[in-house]
Structures are given as structure tokens and as C-alpha cells.
Symmetry: C2
Subunit: 404 residues, 2 copies
């Protein structure tokens, strides 16, 4: 993509009410644009980054047998009355002309449970694993953290359905592993820890995946031996690691990037989702749910990987691998084209061909955060070379074009 063609441009400043690091950098770099607090437009580069995150999540969901579907935003208030969640403060509500009330789904247990009930009748129909990547709506009173706490945001939600808790427990462990794989591939694996959290009214614990970050809203107690954490909300007086018993826990700020829940029969009871076991007896289906927010992940990456000059994006999720800065060299179009092709063409290169100063180009390359900056100038071309610099490092290197 040529920067001269990209409609969404970098900006020097963003509005003063945009306090979060992620939104500041992403807006300045032309990745997103604010519609209102907690609601953003994803511009071409931001959309590409979001799609790369989604692709990784989708691939890993398919590895553990997930079947992808798409559920709606609108659901009748009646379904929420059945689960006693109709009074939740965070619900957005709307009405048909008839006056009947509908909810903009904030999660999809009220949709998936009756949906699965249409198809699951016998133990032979279980287990099943169903997921979607879809927009969620939460009427947050405060939405001040950019992509970290949205009123409208993307969510991957996976639901699993089992004959018993033993089967749920086994799948729950599988999801833990695949979540780790997702965070590794996205580039935040090293900083992301499994954390014990409140299980609500129906389970002892749930689990979160928390990415260490000074700007995080959450506080976790991290075991320096097994690297498991405990959310501050549920830490007990003794403050010991629930996995290894170690009592050397370190308090850290973190961002929740995923959570997994054993729902057990909370929702299957509400919707009478049962199956016939081998003896023909009716039993409740046992459920789990597993969330990751691709848009929150995007914000987290920026919170974790940046310096004063801008974002430092991991290669797996950066919109482009290379940021090509063309300086002068007006009559070298064929040569430049050859270099771009060697670097993977326009699909892998963001090409700054604008008629602005070298300084502005370098500043934008730092702000936008592609993994490699490649400078092509009369000087480098004279040496049949380009100058390559990793965004995450300071040193530059002259590389011969035929060695690219």
C-alpha cells in the first residue's frame, strides 16, 4: 500500500479527552478514529491489524474443534428474563414498532443455549464446541481506556457443551493451552499469565489471562515460581499460589486479555437444555464459555509495545512487515519496484512515497510501528543497497539489494 493513496493519515495530535496510550497512538497513526467514548472506527491499517489478530484466534479455535457461527446482536428481553439478567446495568435496550423490548447482546449465553437446545437431544450429540467473532455492546458508564473498555467491541466467544463436568474439565484444560498459543502467536505470550479469578455464584474459580502492563486496570498476585497469578479480588489472607503453594507472590498491574468460565448448568438449567444419557435418563448439559476480545488485544499490544515515538508492533499482527521510506531517488522507479517485489510486494510493504520531508517520514515510520523500516535513497542505491532498521532496535544496517 502506498501512503500517498491511503485516505487515513497520521496526525500530530488527538483530542485531549483521549487519555489512554493505546487510543492516542492508534489515532495518531491513523489506525482508528473515535466515534464516541468506547466506540471507534477501524481505519484501513487498524482494520488490517484487527483481521490479523482474528485470523490467529480463528485458526486456533479450529484446532480444538470449534465450529464457527454468527449470532445476532438483537435478542428479546424475554430470554434475559429467563436467566434473570434482564436488569443488568450494562444492557443497551431498543424496541420494535410493536413496543416489544430487545437487548443488544453483551454476551451470547441467552442465544447459544436455546440454539443448541434445538439440535442436542442425546449423549450422542455431545460434546460440541461453537464459537463466533462478533460485536458486543455494553452500556459502560465510563469508557476511558481506548480499545481496552469499549461500549461496542469485537469478541470471540466460544461455548462448549458436555455430558458431565469431567468432560468439561478436560476441554477447559485444552482451551487454556490453545489460549496460551494464541497469545504467543500474537506476541504478548511472554507477558501473559493464567490467573485465578472469581467463579461467580456457580464455580469456585474462573480463569483469566492477564498481560502484565503498568497501565492495566487489574491487579494480580503473581507467583514467581510457577508464573500463575491470582486476581486481587479473590486473594486470601495467606496469599499463597493456588498451584504450588509458594508464598512469594508479587503484586503486578495487568490487562485482562481473555477469560474462561465453567458455566456448569447455570444456563442449561435456565433454558432446560438437557440430553438423554445411555440409560434414557434426562440430564442437564454442562457448559463452559471462553472469551477473547480482538479489539482489546489490539489495544493491549500498543500499551505493552511502544516507546515515546510510537508503536512497536509484533510481526504477526502488524498491518505490514516493512515500512519503506523513499527519499529523493526520483528517476529510480524500476529499481525501487524491484526492491519492493523482493520484500514481498505491496501486501507486505507500506510504502511512503509522499512528498514530505525525510524527518516527517521517519517520525511516521516510528509512530506507525511496522517491524522493519527500509530506507531507499540515492545514497543507498549508489551502493546497490537499502538501509534496514528494526523498529525495536536502534542500529541500522546497509543490506545489498541482491541479498534481500
Amino acid at each position: 500500500m502506498y501512503l500517498s493513496k491511503l485516505f487515513a493519515k497520521t496526525r500530530k495530535q488527538v483530542s485531549k479527552d483521549e487519555k489512554s496510550i493505546n487510543a492516542q497512538f492508534l489515532e495518531r497513526a491513523g489506525f482508528i478514529s473515535k466515534e464516541m467514548a468506547g466506540v471507534y472506527n477501524y481505519l484501513p491499517l487498524g482494520f488490517m491489524m484487527l483481521e490479523k489478530i482474528i485470523k490467529i484466534i480463528r485458526e486456533e479455535m479450529n484446532v480444538i474443534g470449534g465450529q464457527e457461527i454468527l449470532m445476532p446482536t438483537l435478542t428479546s428481553i424475554k430470554s434475559y428474563k429467563q436467566t434473570k439478567r434482564d436488569k443488568l446495568d450494562i444492557l443497551f435496550r431498543t424496541k420494535l414498532h410493536s413496543g416489544s423490548e430487545y437487548i443488544l447482546n453483551q454476551s451470547h449465553e441467552e442465544v447459544i443455549t436455546p440454539l443448541v437446545k434445538q439440535f442436542v437431544h442425546s449423549y450422542k450429540d455431545l460434546p460440541v464446541y461453537i464459537y463466533q467473532i462478533q460485536t458486543k455492546f455494553r452500556n459502560e458508564p465510563r469508557a476511558r481506556s481506548g480499545l481496552l473498555r469499549g461500549r461496542e467491541f469485537l469478541m470471540k466467544d466460544l461455548y462448549s457443551f458436555h455430558v458431565d463436568e469431567k468432560d468439561l474439565d478436560e476441554y477447559y484444560k485444552k482451551v487454556q493451552k490453545v489460549y496460551k498459543e494464541i497469545f504467543d502467536r500474537i506476541g504478548i505470550g511472554k507477558d501473559t499469565h493464567l490467573v485465578y479469578a472469581s467463579g461467580g455464584s456457580f464455580s469456585k474459580f474462573s480463569h483469566e489471562f492477564q498481560t502484565l502492563c503498568e497501565t492495566g486496570e487489574d491487579e494480580i498476585y503473581l507467583c514467581n515460581s510457577c508464573k500463575i497469578g491470582v486476581n486481587k479480588e479473590i486473594i486470601n489472607e495467606q496469599k499463597v499460589c493456588p498451584e504450588c503453594g509458594n508464598n512469594k507472590l508479587v503484586v503486578k498491574k495487568a490487562i485482562e486479555v481473555g477469560n474462561i468460565f465453567k458455566l456448569k448448568t447455570k444456563f442449561s438449567d435456565a433454558f432446560e437444555l438437557t440430553y438423554k444419557d445411555k440409560d434414557g435418563k434426562d440430564k442437564p448439559v454442562v457448559m463452559g464459555c471462553y472469551g477473547i476480545g480482538p479489539s482489546r488485544i489490539m489495544g493491549t499490544i500498543v500499551e505493552v509495545f511502544h516507546d515515546k515515538a510510537g508503536m512497536i508492533l509484533p510481526e504477526s499482527v502488524a498491518p505490514y512487515k516493512n515500512h519503506i521510506v523513499i527519499l529523493g531517488s526520483r528517476n529510480q522507479e524500476a529499481g525501487i519496484r524491484k526492491i519492493i517485489d523482493k520484500l514481498g510486494g505491496e501486501d507486505n510493504c507500506l510504502i511512503d512515497d509522499r512528498e514530505i520531508s525525510a524527518g516527517q517520514k521517519f517520525a511516521d515510520a516510528d509512530l506507525m510501528g511496522m517491524p522493519y523500516r527500509v530506507v531507499i535513497s540515492d545514497k543507498t542505491l549508489k551502493k546497490n543497497s537499502v538501509e534496514i532498521k528494526k523498529r525495536s532496535e536502534d542500529k541500522t544496517e546497509l543490506v545489498k539489494i541482491n541479498k534481500l
Copy 2:
């Protein structure tokens, strides 16, 4: 995909209030499930079909320079007041805790115009072409046509921005061509015609793409010479073709699968979207908009391509190319595996391995409508063959496995 693993199963019947052919077949085949009138869940096979349609549309949008973004569902009523569309009957409305009113977007002119205003200032910034594939909400009083008229549905909306009407006219022609290409690739090209329609208050004409179909809601006058149509809404007394002057027009029922509009300066005037021309003078940006509904396309395909037994899906959008029916042949797993691999593996084959009767399997293959039915039985295996039948034809053919 093995049918024994697929959670969404075929059904003998759907509820009686589901009158449309597309929803009846898609629900019976386990492609979709109704949440309420005009709001559907896309189940695994339906989601795959939707994704194939979207992929084709996306590829063609990129051919004509479209930059993909993602705009939000929620937009302040204030933006709709600026365009005087805040009283529209079809708007879904919701509120923040503060009481401020928000609209669930039914189209995105109120979002894209202020968004582009942030970045476009000079003639050098034009033209730009921006699109998204996103969910739209329309509070339809009647939503009785399955996927053809939704309260919540998917839309590809492209917006173009130009220095003058001449540039808009040229791009408008390009979009017409690429729309034809999209409908060709999706399989409905032969039945789909460019149709003159009302241009609203700001243009003489807009254009629709209408697919001939007896169950269509629209009526068009089709020129049997140049194959251009005129929507009944705007046909004049003389009933002549606006392209060639031919007066032999035939009245046909049709489904609108796309529409394109010269918005000119209607929305740029409302939001004061202007640019500086070469002489430094402020001029209004000239706009066009171009819609295709992937979910409506999915419904249209079924309305056009079906028989009594079920759907007959075009290869380009069918979830799988082959529907493999395994009969008996219990101890032939390795041989069957080899055949599946030869036919492109699980990505290309829906495999009926269920323990049900041959009759049920054949009925489901007809209902689900994959392009090729491939029967593997003891009888065919004895002849080192499989039996292949095109869904669209009656004749079956015995094909040697090594010739697959």
C-alpha cells in the same frame, strides 16, 4: 467436515410462520436458525456460505481501489439530525445511561462523511474509495421474507469521494462493471440485470441490480434487446428502454441484490465536507454510494436455485464442493480416506458418515445442495469406483477412483 460432528442438523419441518422459500430451505438444511422475524443465526454451513460470498465481494472491491474499514453500529442522533434523517421510521434507537440517544446505523453516510472530513482537505486527497462489510439494523414493520428483508443483516457499503461529477460518473461506471463481475462469480449473473430506479431528491436516476425471480418483491420492465431494466416505480407512460429506445419491454418479478447511488453533495453539504481546489477555492466533495447485501444474496441464491427436494448451490458459494455419502462399507476406512483426499480433503467435502438410512442420506444431500454428490458403497468400491451425480442434473456416473 463430517456430518456426525456437525452440531446443526437438518430438520424435516420449520415453523409455519416461515413462509419464504429461502428461509424454509436454509432452516431445514441447518444453514440458519431464526432468532426472530428478520433476525437469524448463521450456523456453520450458512456461515461458510456467507463467508464465500463476502470473499468474492471483498476481492472485487479491492480491484477498484476500495480501502476496507469497519464503522460502528452506534452513532449519535445528532449526526442524523444534521442530515434530517433522525425521524426515519426504520431507525432502531437506544440510550446511554446519561440519556443521550443513539441510533443503530441503518446505513453509514452519517459516519463516513464526518470521518472522511477528518482526512480530506485538498484536491490532492481525492478521489478515495472506502468500504466495509458490516451489520445494518432496520426496524422493519414486516420482515417476512427470510434473508431477503432483515431487521439485522449484513451489508457491503462502498462510498466514493470525488472532486467533481465527471470523476464520480467514471467511477460509477467502474462499479457497475465490477458489480456485474461479482454477480457472475456468485452464480446469479445470467439472471441479474442493471435497472434504472428513482434517484431520490438529488439525482435523476439511481441504479439497481435486480435478479429475475418469480418470488421477488420488485417488478421491473426488462428490455429484450439490451437487457437493461426499469423499475416499475419510475416507468413512464411510453414504457421505452432508457438505453436503446426499444419499446418492447417485458414485465418481470425480481429481487434487488445491489443498488448504486450518486449522492452528489447531499451528505457533504450536510457535514460541510469540502476540499480546496487547485486555485485554493473551497468546493463540496462529490459522493457516490454502492451497496450489496451478502445475507440477501444468500437468500436470493436459494430463491433462484432450488427444486422440490432442496437447494442447488453454485460451486463458488457452496460451503463444500462435494457431498460424500458413505453407504455400508464399514471396513474400508483407508480406501474412503484416500477418496476424500483425492477430492480435496475435508475442506472440500461434507461427509455423511451418520448411521442413518441411505434414503435419509440422499434426501439430506438434495436438501443441502452441494454441487456434487459422491456415493461410496461396497458396490462402488468393488468396481474401484465412486458414483458421482451433479446436484443440478439427474444422471449418475460411475468414476474410477484413480481418475478422480
